[in-house]
Amino acid sequence: MSVIRDYDCLVKHSEQVLPGVIRIVFECMEMVSNALPGQFVQIEPSTGTFPVTRRPITINRLTDDGFELLFDVVGRGTELMGEMRTGETVRILGPLGRGWMVHPDSTWLLVGGGLGAAGFQFLIDTVGSAKVLIGASSSRRVIPLESLSCTVATEDGSTGETGLVTALISRDLLEEADSIAVCGPVAMMEAVWNTIPSMYRDKVQVSTESRMGCGWGVCDGCSIPVSSGGYKKCCKDGPVFPGSDIDWKRWKEAGL
C-alpha cells in the first residue's frame, strides 16, 4: 500500500511533445519510492479558488528524483497545467489508486489508444520489456515510448500500419503474453476486449478513467459500472481493473 501525501512539487521541465500534448517533469523523491505503475496523482491546476477540483493524471514514468506526466489539454484545468513553468511549485496528491497487477517474470502485451498509452512507460520500465501496440488517429497522437518492441497503427496512415489497433492483435501475441494491459478511450478498449477471444481474457487488465472529485475514495463521484452489478470507484478500487470486472455496455452508455 502506497503512502498517500500532499506534496509541493517543483516543476523541473515542461514542454509540448505533440500538438496539445504536454509533458511536465516534477521533482518529488517521495513519489519515486512510493508510486507503482498505473497509479495516478491529483494535480492542483491553480493556486486560485477555481477550478474547485484537481485534475487526475496517470504517472507516465518515474525519473531519478521525481516523476513525469503526459497529458492532453482538454479544458480549463489542463490548460492551466500547460502554463506551469520550470521553477514553479505545484500541489500534488499521490500516489493514488491501484495500478497494474505486476506478477514476477511476466511477459507483457500493452495495447494503447492515443493518450491512453501515457503511463505505459512506467510499466515498461518496471517489468523490463514488453510488446507494445499503439493505435491513434494520426502520427500527431502517437506519444513517444521507449520500448524495444512497439508497433503503431494510425487511422489516417500517417505513421505505421493504416487502420485500428485491433488489427495488430494476433493470436500469437495473445498466446505468448502472460499479462495484457489495455488503456485508451472506452470505445477503443471495448473493441480490444471484443477482439480478444474469451480464452485469453483472464490475462487482461484495463486502466479506466472517469470524471473525478476527490481521488481518494470518499466522494463516490467516479463510479465505473462493473459486471457483478453496481459500481466500483475508479479512484480507489481502480483505475486498473481486471477486464472481466467491467460492464462494458453500461460503461459505454455513461458516455464519459
Binding site: 477550478p51 496528491l93 481518494w216 463521484g221 455513461a254
Partner: protein, 291 residues
C-alpha cells in the same frame, strides 16, 4: 454574541477542538481520512448519507465541474444501514473526533428506522437528518420544503434516540425559517443550513443535460453570500445552534459564517481541492483572530 467571533471549541456540550466539520458526502465515514492522516483541525466528521437499504447510486457521470463550481449527482450511494453498523462504524471508531451520521430516507418512517438500527453503535455522537432528499413515498418533493413533514420526521427521530441530531435543510423551495422552526419543535438539537442548490448544465447544441438525472446539486465558493444570508435568517429565528454548510474556501469565510450566527461550519467541496482543508482553515482563522 460579540464581534469578531471567537473560535468555538464546544458543541452540544462536547469538546469539538475546532468549529470545522467535514460535510456529508465529502468525507465518506472518515475511514479514508485516517489513511490520509488529514484529520488535523477537524471538529467533527459528518458521514455520507445512510439509507435503510443499500443504494448503488446514480448512473455515471456523477460529477460535472463548471467554471465556478461543481454539480454532483451521486444518488445517495451507500451500502445500507446494516452494513454500515457492522462493517464501517467499527473502523470509524478510530476517528479522533466526533462522528455524526447523515441519515436519508424515502419516507417519513425510514429516517427513524435507520436511526433505530444505528442506536446499537456507540461510535457516533449523533445524527444529521437529510430532509433534502425526495419524499418518494409521497409525491417526490423534498421533505424539507414542507414544515409539517419536517416536524413529523424530527418527531420520529426524537422517539428512537436520545442522541443529539441536526436537521439539514434544503434551500430548494419552501421557507427555510419555517422548516427550521418545525425541526426544533420536533426535537432537533441543531439545524444545518443548508444543502446543495439545484443546478443543471445543458449542452446547447443538443439540448441535453450532461448529467443523466438532469438536475443535480450545485456547490461553489461563490455560494457563500447565499449561505451567509440563510444562516443569519435561521439563527435569528430558532433557539438551537445553526451548523452552516456551503461556500467555504478560506478561514475568513468560516469567521464570517460564525459572525452570521453559525456555531459550527461545514466544509465540503473545498476538500476535493484540499483534503487537509480543515487544518488550513483553522490555521488561517488563528492568524486572523490572533488566537
Amino acid at each position: 454574541m460579540s464581534y469578531p467571533p471567537s473560535i468555538p471549541r464546544k458543541f452540544w456540550g462536547v469538546d469539538f477542538n475546532s468549529p470545522v466539520m467535514l460535510a456529508s458526502g465529502t468525507a465518506g465515514f472518515g475511514e479514508e481520512l485516517l489513511d490520509l492522516q488529514c484529520l488535523s483541525g477537524v471538529g467533527a466528521v459528518v458521514s455520507k448519507a445512510v439509507t435503510f437499504k443499500s443504494r448503488e447510486g446514480n448512473p455515471p457521470p456523477r460529477l460535472l465541474e463548471t467554471p465556478y463550481g461543481l454539480l454532483n449527482s451521486i444518488g445517495l450511494a451507500n451500502p445500507g444501514v446494516h452494513h454500515v453498523l457492522e462493517h464501517i462504524l467499527p473502523v470509524a471508531a478510530d476517528l479522533p473526533c466526533p462522528l455524526l451520521i447523515n441519515v436519508a430516507g424515502e419516507s417519513v418512517e425510514e429516517f427513524a428506522s435507520v436511526v433505530s438500527v444505528l442506536e446499537e453503535s456507540r461510535v457516533h455522537l449523533g445524527y444529521e437528518i437529510n430532509v433534502s432528499c425526495p419524499n418518494v413515498a409521497d409525491g417526490g418533493a423534498a421533505f424539507g420544503v414542507d414544515p409539517e413533514v419536517v416536524l413529523r420526521v424530527a418527531q420520529g427521530v426524537s422517539r428512537v434516540t436520545s442522541r443529539p441530531f441536526s436537521v439539514k435543510l434544503t434551500p430548494n423551495g419552501g421557507d427555510m425559517v419555517q422548516s427550521a422552526r418545525a425541526a426544533v419543535e420536533g426535537g432537533a438539537s441543531a439545524v444545518t443550513v443548508c444543502n446543495t442548490f439545484l443546478g443543471m448544465q445543458i449542452d446547447w447544441e443538443t439540448g441535453r443535460s450532461i448529467l443523466k438525472r438532469k438536475v443535480a446539486g450545485y456547490t461553489s465558493p461563490a455560494l457563500l453570500p447565499l449561505v451567509v444570508a440563510r444562516v443569519w435568517q435561521v439563527s435569528n429565528a430558532v433557539s438551537v445552534p445553526v451548523i452552516s454548510s456551503g461556500g467555504v474556501s478560506k478561514g475568513e469565510d468560516v469567521l464570517q459564517l460564525l459572525a452570521a450566527g453559525a456555531r459550527m461550519v461545514q466544509v465540503g467541496t473545498r476538500l476535493m481541492r484540499r483534503p487537509f482543508a480543515a487544518g488550513e482553515l483553522m490555521a488561517e482563522m488563528k492568524k486572523l483572530t490572533g488566537e
